[in-house]
């Protein structure tokens, strides 16, 4: 897994106009997927829901990018927008460039050729995402057959190879079983086998481990990592679980209210968080290594905002202990500040956060 050193000089902090481009890639290769100024709105009876608001990021070959945020922060909508799978009434703006070509709003046929072949998706609930009336082998074969015309025997061999690759024992027999005959962890592996069937360039994993218990989670993440070393796919790991991100991802985007809060390497996000929201999230994690008797877990005050009435200025300001409630935080949306190379925080006070007074 590639990781970048935060070698940037904090004194040359630059304020970038969104959509900004992080200066340095974790590898020299151009990004396989770049999202620029992505906004997704859903008109509803109560008003317009801004699910994603001016989001920009890059995904590089062979890297794992974690996208973290609480429910309703726009993680899943982002992934659906990339694949063009949002319902018709969604209003999508911005750019999604796959290998340089904008695929946002591309023709259905173009998108169909990409989906499952170049950009594949792993769903959260494998039981729901597998068709109950077909055998697992059948479905994996189907996901190949959609894109490639292979003779039946080759298809079958490939299915067995894939099941073996994701660590399912006796793959030949298992291929002939139905999803309900699989255990939860095996179903998720089968889902992964399905998504990597065509060696995609980008693998979007939407909460791949959320429905699983912790030991199976670890196994599935392990499978993902092994797959990546073989296929060199880029993985977009969408999760609300900071632990999962810490273990697997190289870079992390923290999202809040459909916007980016912070972007950086795993180490930067976990050890030098420069956004109050990231700090709040980390502080609210239960820690085994800090034994404090009778201490309650930290919690972020307030509620996540409604995406119809997003707070003015910085969306996090009503809950932010550092916020300047008379000034900038309420009146102006914070720009993305690059604190060091590749480490950006969308906070007016990102650079001086440690010196700021904390609201009681």
């Amino acid at each position: 897994m590639t990781q970048i050193d935060p070698t940037g000089d904090p004194e040359t902090n630059r304020i970038l106009e969104p959509p900004f481009v992080p200066a340095v890639a974790p590898s020299d290769a151009p990004p396989v997927l770049s999202v620029r100024g992505l906004s997704v709105e859903f008109p509803t009876d109560d008003g317009v829901v801004r699910a994603v608001d001016d989001l920009s990021f890059d995904v590089f070959p062979n890297e794992t990018l974690g996208i973290v945020g609480e429910s309703g922060s726009g993680k899943s909508v982002t992934s659906l927008a990339i694949l063009g799978l949002l319902p018709k009434q969604a209003r999508v703006r911005g750019e999604v460039r796959f290998r340089g070509d904008n695929i946002l709003g591309a023709k259905e046929n173009t998108l169909r050729e990409l989906r499952g072949d170049r950009i594949a998706m792993i769903f959260q609930d494998a039981l729901a995402a597998l068709n109950p009336v077909f055998t697992v082998g059948n479905q994996i074969a189907e996901s190949i057959a959609v894109h490639h015309d292979l003779p039946k025997r080759e298809l079958e061999a490939r299915v067995v190879e894939l099941l073996d690759m994701v660590g399912i024992s006796q793959p030949a027999q298992r291929a002939k079983q139905y999803p309900h005959e699989f255990s939860g962890g095996m179903r998720q592996r089968a889902m992964i086998a399905m998504s990597i069937a065509n060696d995609p360039d980008v693998l979007i994993a939407d909460e791949p481990t959320t429905a699983l218990d912790v030991t199976i989670q670890a196994q599935v993440l392990d499978v993902l990592e092994r797959i990546q070393t073989r296929t060199r796919s880029a993985i977009m790991l969408i999760t609300h679980d900071l632990g999962v991100v810490a273990g697997v991802a190289a870079r992390v985007i923290v999202m809040y209210a459909g916007r980016q809060a912070e972007l950086g390497t795993v180490d930067e996000i976990f050890y030098e968080p420069k956004h109050p929201y990231t700090r709040g999230l980390l502080a609210s994690l239960p820690r085994v290594d800090r034994r404090v008797v009778n201490e309650r877990l930290h919690r972020i005050e307030g509620q996540p905002p409604s995406l119809i009435f997003v707070p003015s200025g910085c969306a996090f300001h009503p809950r932010c202990p550092y916020a300047d409630l008379q000034g900038l935080c309420v009146s102006e949306r914070p720009p993305s500040v690059e604190l060091s190379v590749g480490h950006c925080s969308d906070c007016h006070f990102a650079a001086t956060l440690d010196e700021r007074p904390v609201r009681p």
């Binding site: 499952g116 769903f123 109950p132 009336v133 077909f134 006796q170 309900h180 399905m194």
Partner: protein, 308 residues
């Protein structure tokens, strides 16, 4: 049992009890096993086979030639010579029932086939594409549903000629709406399922999603409706013919036989004139319905229905 190396054992799923091997059976084996668990369905398929064999083999099996009248014998009830008795003109009822079944069964099966095909196509398109396609198709379906069926049937049969083929055309044209409605509802609910979204995310086209992912999940209700359509068509033919709007002798069907048995309504001693054609009709309808039940369960891989 294959011997497992320590590595594969370690990789083996925790859900498996130690030593247990996943048993792989082919789809056909599983299908057969689930179907045979349904005792009534198995019995029904035997009955249906028997009926089809007896009716369509009438040329060889029937004790008397078709429509042969014998005015010399007294019309009477079941006897050793005439198992089902004879009617007023001395026709052997067993022979007539066998020949009559040819037309009744042919109409039933053909109508079920055509109305199911039309209904599935219309329902799947309406349910999957939604919008104005759904509006158009659903309103069309409603229009066909409110048509006074019997009157249209009567008139149309007169126009097209009183043949079994015109029956098939008209009954199919008036019978597809039920399947269409059921399929539309099924498609609407299944299209919301995550596996449909997963199929879309894997790059499948709309048609492919409908044919490969959605319709196989509707096979149960479709089967049940198809079998109901067989029963409905057989009954519709009998009804119309009984009312005198349908087939006419020398053609013969179970409906015609019932029509001719009118006298039995007043004379209980002639019960056999109604009983035997009626029994064949009821037997067919029942068997077909049980068969539908059995098929529905057999098509559902998750079904655990035992022989209750």
């Amino acid at each position: 049992m294959t011997t497992s190396s320590p590595e594969t054992m370690a990789a083996a799923e925790l859900a498996l009890p130690p030593g247990a091997e996943p048993v792989a059976r082919s789809n056909w084996q599983l299908f057969r096993r689930r179907f045979f668990r349904h005792k009534l369905a198995v019995l029904s398929i035997i009955v249906l086979f028997f009926l089809i064999l007896v009716c369509f083999g009438a040329s060889w099996l029937a004790p008397f030639p078709k429509n042969q009248t014998n005015l010399l014998i007294t019309p009477g009830g079941p006897s050793a010579k005439h198992w089902f008795g004879t009617n007023e003109v001395g026709q052997d009822l067993l022979t007539q029932v066998m020949y009559g079944g040819q037309i009744s069964l042919k109409i039933g099966l053909a109508v079920a086939f055509f109305s199911t095909v039309v209904g599935v196509v219309v329902g799947a398109m309406a349910g999957f594409y939604g919008g104005w396609i759904d509006q158009g198709l659903s309103r069309g379906t409603d229009l066909f549903l409110i048509v006074p069926e019997l009157a249209i049937l009567g008139v149309a049969i007169q126009r097209l000629g009183r043949s079994d083929n015109s029956f098939i055309i008209v009954l199919a044209a008036l019978g597809w709406m039920y399947v269409a409605r059921v399929v539309r509802g099924q498609v609407l609910s299944i299209k919301q399922k995550e596996f449909v979204e997963a199929a879309r995310a894997s790059g499948a086209s709309g048609t492919r999603i409908v044919v490969r992912h959605i319709l196989p999940n509707c096979i149960g209700p479709i089967m049940v409706n198809a079998t109901l359509a067989i029963a409905a068509a057989v009954i519709a033919e009998s009804t119309l013919t009984y009312l005198g709007l349908g087939l006419q002798p020398p053609a013969t069907s179970w409906g015609i036989l019932l029509n001719q048995a009118e006298s039995a309504v007043t004379e209980t001693s002639k019960f056999y004139l109604v009983f035997f054609p009626g029994a064949f009709l009821v037997l067919t309808v029942l068997a077909v319905n049980f068969l539908g039940d059995g098929l529905r369960d057999a098509f559902d891989p998750q079904s655990e229905h035992g022989s209750k």
